[in-house]
Amino acid sequence: MARRENSEINAGSMADIAFLLLIFFLVTTTMDVDSGISRKLSEKPPENMPPPPVIKEKNIFEVNINRNDELLVEDEVMKIEDIKQATIDFLDNGGGMGKVTETAPASRCDYCNGEKSESSSDHPNKAVISVQSDRGTSYGMYITVQNELLSAYTELRNRYAKTQIKGKYAGMSYVELVALAANSKDEENERLKQVITEIKEAYPQIISDAEPTK
């Protein structure tokens, strides 16, 4: 049998094969990145736990959402647009002494811009936000409120980062710093992490979800 000449392989249908694969992947995969509001739940209290320390009324910011998605903030009816500013006013009040931390004794909040009112929170690290919802409250409303509370914290943290942080990261907002930390290499990270922790400790997120009413 005579050997045929080494002719080129016909690659005409290669495109068809590739198209087939392409369409298969287009159909079976999705592009959406999962994102959301992340939360850390509190641990289950042990049964013989001593009762939690009493928190002063003025350090609690009470948010109520009823089953008709209406909002009651500190015993006043409020629109959803106003809750962010009310939260900022509450957190940033700085009317008294703060909590004793590992690094510092109790002190006044020297970075707060609030009214220093006697009837509002003492210090951002003492201020607790309590969200009380109803079992019938819609999830959309609940998330909207959570989002507004978080955005209040973010705004305060941004301000703290811009005004209080000195040195290499001066003038950057908290959001920018976090974005930078996500993209940076390890050796840079140490200092950056310290800065971010400092900002977080200046305005710690203390949001508690009370058991919904029935």
Partner: protein, 160 residues
């Protein structure tokens, strides 16, 4: 003139030799940027709430997803109109969540377990009660990291 007329012999075929390369390039692009669709929804696709303060969930393999929403129209007669919870491929009750999380944890190394996140994909019309039941269940088995899945967008769409 005849010189020009001679050249007119119809259009030459377009060279398609590079077509496979282009298509392969597209193919690789999609293979890299997309992820496999995981589960078929047994409930009506939840309309996720919008939010602005969102964080991306990293390490997709460490995320277990709980879907919450209404039953599909055709199943309403059988299942009722209340909030339904879907774990893996079937509609379940709150009591099944512990087992679901345990089975997800078993797929990973013990040192990865504290980093595992539970993503709650819930419809905006669901009640907070259902979400709270899920939270209690997760707290009892010490799966403390959760994420309320949201889209980035305008908050006004959340409220009717």
């Amino acid at each position: 003139m005849s010189k020009f007329a001679k050249k007119k012999k119809g259009l030459p075929a377009v060279n398609t030799a590079a077509l496979p390369d282009i298509v392969f390039m597209l193919l690789f692009f999609f293979m890299v940027t997309t992820t496999m669709r995981e589960t078929d929804l047994k409930i009506q696709a939840p309309k996720l709430p919008n939010a602005t303060e969102v964080k991306k969930l990293e390490h997709k393999s460490l995320v277990s997803t709980i879907y919450v929403g209404k039953a599909k129209e055709e199943d309403r007669a059988k299942l009722g109109t209340g909030d339904k919870i879907q774990l893996n491929d079937k509609i379940s009750t709150v009591n099944d969540i512990a087992n679901f999380i345990y089975s997800e944890q078993e797929k990973h190394n013990p040192e990865e377990i504290p980093y595992m996140t539970t993503s709650i994909k819930s419809d905006i019309e669901c009640g907070v009660g259902t979400i709270h039941d899920i939270r209690i269940e997760l707290r009892d088995i010490n799966a403390l990291k959760i994420s309320y899945s949201t889209r980035k967008g305008d908050l006004k769409a959340n409220i009717k």
